[in-house]
Each structure stands twice: as structure tokens, then as C-alpha cells.
């Protein structure tokens, strides 16, 4: 815990405030019948896949290639998540299957 409790509270307040703001914005701006600008609608469609791809890279930023333990668990568990999802199409199976595999790999096999 690098943050003090007060700093943590502030962070959480910011997360809560900004999350509410993103949900409220359409109602604040367009509830009186104005059409949203086309560029907003366009970004609303193309930004989410780009942001998720960015976050995946962010999640695996700590991967190192000096030893197999630095990258093999992430690669195998990541593949498991994608393949399980293509196969079963069930979010819970994919997420818990991949996370379970990752935990076994980092704690047992490469631990």
C-alpha cells in the first residue's frame, strides 16, 4: 500500500466521480433533443476497442525475457483466455480458467 488511507480515499473519490460523470454526460448534453456531434458518436464506436487493446499491453508491461518464468506464464494464460473464449464464449469460464492456470504456473511450475 504505497498510499496513505486519505490518499486512497481521494483516489477512490476521483474514480467514483469520473465514472459517474461519464455516465451522466449524455444526459447533461443531449437530453433536450439535440443530436450529438458525429465525431463524438464516431469516437464512441472506435475508441473502446483501441482502449481495451491499450490496457492489455499495459497489463503485460512487466513481462521480461531473461528467463522463461518472466514471460511463459503470461503467454500461456493469455492464450488460454482467448482460446477458451473462442471455444465456449462464456466470460466466466474464460476469465477463471485463465486466471487459475496463471496462478498454478506462477506459484507451482515457475514458482
Amino acid at each position: 500500500m504505497p498510499l496513505t488511507p486519505v490518499e486512497s480515499l481521494l483516489s477512490i473519490a476521483v474514480m467514483a466521480g469520473v465514472t459517474f460523470l461519464t455516465r451522466a454526460l449524455p444526459f447533461l448534453l443531449f437530453d433536450r433533443g439535440e443530436k450529438p456531434p458525429r465525431v463524438v458518436l464516431y469516437l464512441g464506436r472506435v475508441l473502446p476497442p483501441a482502449i481495451i487493446a491499450m490496457l492489455i499491453v499495459y497489463c503485460v508491461r512487466g513481462v521480461t525475457f531473461a528467463a522463461p518464468a518472466g514471460w511463459v506464464p503470461t503467454l500461456l494464460a493469455g492464450l488460454a483466455a482467448v482460446l477458451l473464449h473462442l471455444w465456449k464464449g462464456n466470460d466466466l469460464i474464460s476469465i477463471f480458467g485463465a486466471t487459475g492456470l496463471y496462478m498454478v504456473l506462477v506459484q507451482g511450475v515457475f514458482g
Binding site: L21, L25, V40, M54, I56, V57, Y58, Y102, Q107
Partner: protein, 243 residues
Amino acid sequence: MNRKTLAAAFPVTVPVLMGYLAIGMAFGLMLQSAGYGVGWALLMSLTIYAGSGQYLGVSLLAAGAPLGQVAFLTLMINFRHLVYGLSMLEKFRGMGPRKLYMIFSLTDETYALLSSARPPAGIAPHNFYFTVAMLDHSYWILGSVLGSLLGSALGVDTTGVDFAMTALFLVIAVGQWKKAGSHLPALLGAGITLVSLLLVGQEEMLLPALALIVIALTLLRPRLEGREEEPGPGKREEEPQCR
């Protein structure tokens, strides 16, 4: 909230119950392993109430990220809510003070339920929507509290449980990839972030990556606008179960 409305709303929310209990528990476990106990899990799920946002929140808290970065990343990861709100303008009209709660609780899953489920005859639509929203929120809180308690009670080795966040984003990406008219936004997002990681480093990689992604997508608008079809009713029907 009367009993008849509850009886009509509950069956509709059962898939979300399963999903939120599981994803909420993983959140509680992750938060616990970052050094934040059950009170924090309760507080975050009560006040933030966002799946992927709270997963990201755990790593922001664990990294001690500055408030500006917290605000900007939360804004970006929640950008899709803009689209949700736009399609709920009509539905929430005339709900009075309850409308504030409806807006607050408009998660991916609640959005999916509200856009597809029809209130049965004899049930006031607004009461039905409100009950669905409250039930979903309570499942999320319950899940995260259970996960947090489980993590501290069992004393299990939770090393690696944070991979749940990576897995969640991968699952969302697979779903988006299948529905997308063009894969360019996703490839661009990954490519730009990778370059930013190599050039700027792990600590400061996200803000430059985000800025470049927004600029690149805005410049590519003439090319992408035609290919990314308006999300019609057919495209919307397969909503991801959890995010």
C-alpha cells in the same frame, strides 16, 4: 419497490447475479492482495460500481498513481458509457429523483438488461427498471465483499490472481474483435501502446499512448467512418456478459 415488481425483475437479473458474484469476488480478492481489506471493497463497489474500472482501480491504488492519471484513465476506460447513455435518454425520461440512480448504475450488464428486457404487463416500467438496477448493484457489492472476506479468511496464496484483469480485457477484446467492422482501432491501440512502452517506459506509458490513439483515430475518421457501421439492433443483441 413492491413484491410484485421484485418477482418480475429478479428472474431477468439471474445471469447478472452469477456474473457479478464471480467477477466481484475476483475484484475483492485482488483488492485484498493489494493490501486493502473488506471496508475498501465495500466502499469502492458502493460508490464506483464499474467492473473494468474497479479492476484498473486496484492496480492504480497498488501503484500509487497520481490523481490526474487516475482521473484520465478512469475517463478513458469508461468512455463507452457515453454510447449507453445516448440510447437510454428516452427510457429514463420522467423518472424523477430515481433517474440519478439509474444514471449512476448504468453498467454494461444493466445496460444490456434494460435494452433487451421488457417489463411484464401490470408492472410500471420505471419501477421495473429501477428494481433491475438495484438488484444488479447489490449483487456486485455482495460479490466483492465475499471475495475480500474469502481472501482474508482462507489465507490462500493469491499470487497471480491479478491476472483476472488481463483475462477480463482479453475476453472483452475477443468479443469486440468478432463484432468490429474494422480491426484497425484495436491493432492501432495495441501498436501505439507497445511503442509507448518501449520509448517512454512502464511508469509513464499510458498518457502518451492515449493521446496518440485519440489523435490517430480522429485523423483516420474519413477512412473508418464508412466501414464502422452504426450499431443497429442486430449488432447490439450479443452483449458481453461481464466487463
